[in-house]
């Protein structure tokens, strides 16, 4: 019966590896924050939509350094010229842009519906006279040269107020040689808005490449260098960094583990045998997530590194327990009850995460369950068919007499150890140090120097921070605009009362049809207007008939139909409106970004609820922190459920309470020591720590199970000690290396798991034996 499996098991495995490899390869990796979102929370969904694809996430900030001031200004102009025709960019600005003539003509034609200054009193004889006198004063001034262009068509100056409106929304940086510069003049500045979301990593990568290519063509000769930042750039750069560092560190640590295995077992075969369960776990985990979720979060990918730690242990248990006189299959059969329990505890512990409203937790659960099962199956069924039945590692895996000494139960030490744990717990509870890291920025995998560059560019450009905004949802665009206008009126009152510095919104650029019609109604009939104008012109030096174009324009504006959203097209106005008003799965969403908010709570409390629409006040920072905290609470709750499941499984598997306690108490103590040490080191627990603690739980239960395994003789006990020492050493090597990383995520994982593995080993060694020996 052994013949058939020897052939079909490797074949089956290879097929499974190829299939999962293909699925994993085609699954996109995403860096967005939806993993934090509890499903069915409209405010949270709006918030995440904003974080994911809101107008501020689509901004890329560019800085040009080096060369002379003239070089930088010239490079800025040429770079902008090269980028503008690219359809990937909605907007490229460097301070030098003049409104395209077509846009200017369009604005001129629509000025009487769009200008907020249009009101009936503006076209009375008195209103017109005031406007004409102002125009005359402008003609007199040195700036009159520039302002007389629209005199005949637009004596009330509506175009000018429209242009002023369009210029607002962004505080303009200082200019030198006609383009934007940092205040000290050392850096020329540009601002680019992409059409793709800042978290569409693939599109952002292409955009960054296009910018670099355009820059190579624009400034290569002058010794000017390019710096770029923005949410999308940071996301792609940090993904690259995380990947590069994770690859480099895991490569290095795998090499170190390989050396360890070689030194311990003296066999190259142990290397590739040891690697097979790990490979299976990674591919199976990624493929399972890909199949069930369609995408892989970066955090899941980071977690896969921690899974390596546990899956490497399974073959190690096999190698160390190989004895002369029994086949590989027989050794495995002896180990199987314990091994099976090891995998079952980890898998079931994570099962608690599966039925969760949080997709992020679900992915972690699926990844672990699939990975652990795959690694275990590989160890149990693939490894024995790949080696000769009597294969053993060439170097003896028996440790010396000191092992017996080490393994001798020391009840007093165990008691003291347990007492120390209790004391630590009491101390932690009493002192209650700040435990959690709620700041999303601390979770960010973005290297600190990139964040500094981002802050410098943002400060110089005055680009809007992702901060406070009001989101309005409505069934159609017109309702959204009308609701925006009523919220805008509220905001204007609050602004005048000093509650906030300013606000923006689509309704500033494109008023609702109702408002446009109201303005249209404010325009007088031709005869009335002509009569009013005649009275207004009395005694003023304007030539007769000069304002005929004005009379025509008003007559045309009265007859035409107002501007609709579908008609704004790709003009400056259109781009601005569409970045603030968009249609999605849940209807239309209008955004009103706020700046300089003094009291968010009061502002939110007074927010009017418009007809047929809903307005939400979003404080992005507070909201994300709340989401992270909620996510963590959910994770902790699931973790508790998982632990309960583990206890049940271990109790059921060992069918006796004392070995179960012997297996579980050490890991409990180890977790306590790990958390206490982390806090003593000044760390605050983030999601990455939490996820790593989950792995520590898995590893620790394994150590406890093996140490408390009923052993037939001293030799077997020594072999178990050998196996556990190799496991612990390899875990320490891998994760101690990760803890040296500069990236917060990798550092957190490395530190937690290396501390946890060491603590689990020591705790299991000291506590498990005495508990069991009382049984003998």
């Amino acid at each position: 019966m052994n013949f058939a499996p020897r052939r079909w098991i490797p074949l089956l495995w290879l097929l499974a590896v190829l299939a999962s490899g293909w699925i994993a390869w085609t699954t996109p990796v995403v860096a967005d924050l939806t993993l934090f979102a509890p499903r069915a929370d409209p405010a949270a969904e709006l918030l995440l939509e904003q974080l994911r694809s809101g107008p501020t996430t689509r901004l890329i900030l560019l800085g040009l350094d080096g060369g002379s001031e003239a070089d930088r200004a010239a490079a800025s102009r040429r770079l902008a010229e090269r980028l503008r025709p690219d359809p990937a960019f909605a907007r490229v600005v460097n301070g030098a842009e003049t409104l395209p003539d077509a846009d200017l003509q369009a604005l001129l034609a629509q000025r009487y519906w769009l200008s907020p200054a249009v009101a009936p009193e503006r076209f009375t004889a008195g209103g017109l006279r005031a406007a004409l006198q102002q125009r005359l004063a402008e003609l007199q001034s040195p700036l009159g040269v520039f302002q007389k262009r629209w005199l005949a068509e637009d004596p009330t100056g509506e175009l000018l107020s429209l242009l002023r409106l369009l210029q607002g929304g962004l505080r303009e940086p200082a200019k030198r040689l006609g383009v934007w510069f940092s205040p000290d003049g050392a850096r020329a500045l540009l601002l680019v808005e992409t059409r793709a979301s800042g978290y569409d990593l693939k599109a952002q990568r292409a955009v960054v490449a296009a910018i670099r290519q355009a820059f190579a063509g624009a400034g290569a000769a002058t010794g000017v260098s390019l710096t770029l930042s923005g949410p999308g750039v940071l996301a792609t750069l940090s993904e690259d960094r995380v990947r590069a560092q994770a690859e480099w560190l895991s490569g290095l640590s795998l090499a170190a583990v390989a050396l360890l295995l070689l030194a311990v077992y003296g066999s190259a075969r142990t290397l590739w045998l040891g690697a097979l369960p790990m490979l299976s776990a990674l591919l199976a985990g990624a493929a399972a997530v890909g199949l069930l979720f369609g995408q892989l979060y970066l955090i899941t990918l980071a977690f896969s590194v921690t899974l390596l730690g546990e899956t490497l242990d399974y073959p190690t248990y096999l190698f160390s327990h190989r004895r002369a006189g029994e086949t590989v299959e027989e050794t495995l059969r002896q180990l199987w009850p314990t091994l099976r329990l090891c995998a079952a505890t980890t898998a079931l512990g994570c099962l608690a995460m599966l039925d969760s409203g949080f997709p992020g937790l679900g992915q972690l659960g699926v990844f672990t369950v699939a990975g652990v099962i795959a690694a275990m199956a590989t160890t149990r069924w693939l490894l024995p068919v790949l080696v000769p039945p009597h294969w053993r590692p060439p170097r003896p895996t028996v440790v010396g007499d000191w092992a017996d000494k080490l393994l001798r139960p020391r009840p007093r030490l165990a008691l003291a150890f347990g007492g120390l744990g209790v004391l630590l717990l009491i101390g932690l509870l009493a002192k209650a140090p700040p435990l959690w890291e709620n700041d999303l920025a601390a979770l960010s995998p973005v290297p600190r120097e990139l964040l500094r560059v981002d802050q410098a560019l943002r400060g110089a450009l005055g680009a809007p921070e992702v901060g406070h905004l009001i989101a309005i949802t409505a069934p159609d665009a017109e309702t959204a605009l009308r609701a925006s206008e009523s919220v805008g009126a509220y905001l204007e009152r609050q602004r005048q009362a000093g509650m906030l510095a300013g606000y923006d919104g689509a309704m500033r650029y494109l008023p609702s049809l109702a408002t446009q019609r109201q303005r249209q109604a404010a325009l007088p009939e031709a005869e009335t207007l002509a009569a009013n104008l005649d009275i207004a012109l009395e005694g003023l030096p304007f030539k007769p008939g000069l304002f005929a174009p004005f009379l025509d324009a008003i007559a045309a504006a009265r007859a035409a139909s107002p501007l609709r959203l579908e008609e704004v097209g790709e003009s400056v106005l259109g781009v601005r409106v569409r970045s603030l008003l968009s249609v999605g799965a849940r209807g239309w969403t209008a955004l009103l970004p706020l700046s300089g908010v003094r009291d968010a709570r009061a502002l939110a409390a007074g927010l009017p609820q418009p007809d047929n629409a809903r307005a939400y006040y979003l404080d992005l920072r507070a909201e994300t922190n709340r989401l992270v905290a909620e996510f963590r609470a959910a994770a902790l709750w699931r973790l508790a459920w998982g632990s309960a499941l583990i206890v049940a499984v271990v109790g059921w598997g060992l069918r006796a309470w004392r070995p179960a306690v012997a297996a579980l108490l050490p890991v409990l103590l180890a977790l306590l020591f790990t958390v206490a040490t982390l806090l003593a080191l000044g760390e605050r627990l983030s999601l990455f720590h939490l996820v790593s603690l989950l792995l520590v739980l898995g590893i620790g239960v394994d150590y406890g199970l093996f140490f408390s395994r009923p052993a037939a003789d001293a030799d077997l006990r020594r072999r178990t000690l050998h196996a556990l020492m190799v496991c612990c050493a390899s875990a320490l090597i891998v994760f101690a290396m990760l803890s040296t990383s500069a990236l917060p995520a990798l550092r957190a994982i490395g530190l937690t798991v290396s501390l946890g593995a060491a603590a689990s080993f020591i705790a299991a060694l000291i506590v498990a034996r005495p508990l069991l020996n009382r049984l003998d």
Partner: protein, 185 residues
């Protein structure tokens, strides 16, 4: 090529002569530490039946300060100091602009300020210079180089005697014209 050379040979001495007098006038102007004078400005605009007249004071302090204070018909104050332009009008209050950011505005300031400062280098950054006459009585025609400025202003002609600017004539695109005459106090 031959034609080019011939043109160069012909123009060379003439240009050289003009250059020399220009440099001489520039040196004279550069030596003036401060100017204070009354101005009268007349603008002839196509849109108006009669010219617009304004009067006021002009102040200059070497090398970067120029202030045009209009007193009639309404009070207005334009003050350029280095890279900054401060505008004060009864309608809009006090506003400051960085001249570097307004490529169409800066040449207008420099036409008077850099000429009075004898700063030929700055003038040549914004204008093509044509000098006529001798230090005793000269005229300097400035034609804007940048398209942003040329769109509004065809040329600015300054006339003067020795180190004194007597008048500034601005020829605007579209035929409008303004003449500012200066009387020292």
């Amino acid at each position: 090529m031959k034609r080019w050379l011939a043109a160069l040979l012909l123009c060379g001495p003439l240009a050289g002569f003009g250059q020399e007098s220009l440099d001489q006038v520039m040196r004279l102007l550069a030596a003036v530490p401060a100017v204070e004078g009354d101005f009268r400005e007349e603008k002839h605009l196509a849109a108006l039946r009669e010219p617009l007249v304004a009067t006021g004071r002009l102040y200059y302090r070497a090398p970067g300060f120029l202030r045009k204070q209009t007193l009639f018909p309404q009070a207005e104050d334009y003050e350029a100091d280095g890279d900054w332009l401060t505008v004060e009008t009864p309608a809009a209050g006090r506003r400051q602009f960085d001249l570097n950011g307004y490529p169409q505005l800066r040449p207008l300031v420099e036409a008077i300020r850099a000429t009075q400062a004898g700063d030929r280098k700055t003038l040549e950054r914004f204008y093509r210079l044509e000098f006529e006459g001798a230090p005793a009585s000269w005229s300097l025609r400035l034609t804007p180089l940048a398209p942003e400025a040329a769109r509004y202003v065809t040329a600015i002609v300054l006339r003067g005697q020795e180190a004194r600017i007597a008048s500034v004539e601005t020829l605007e695109a579209g035929g409008d014209r303004g003449v500012l005459t200066l009387t020292p106090r």
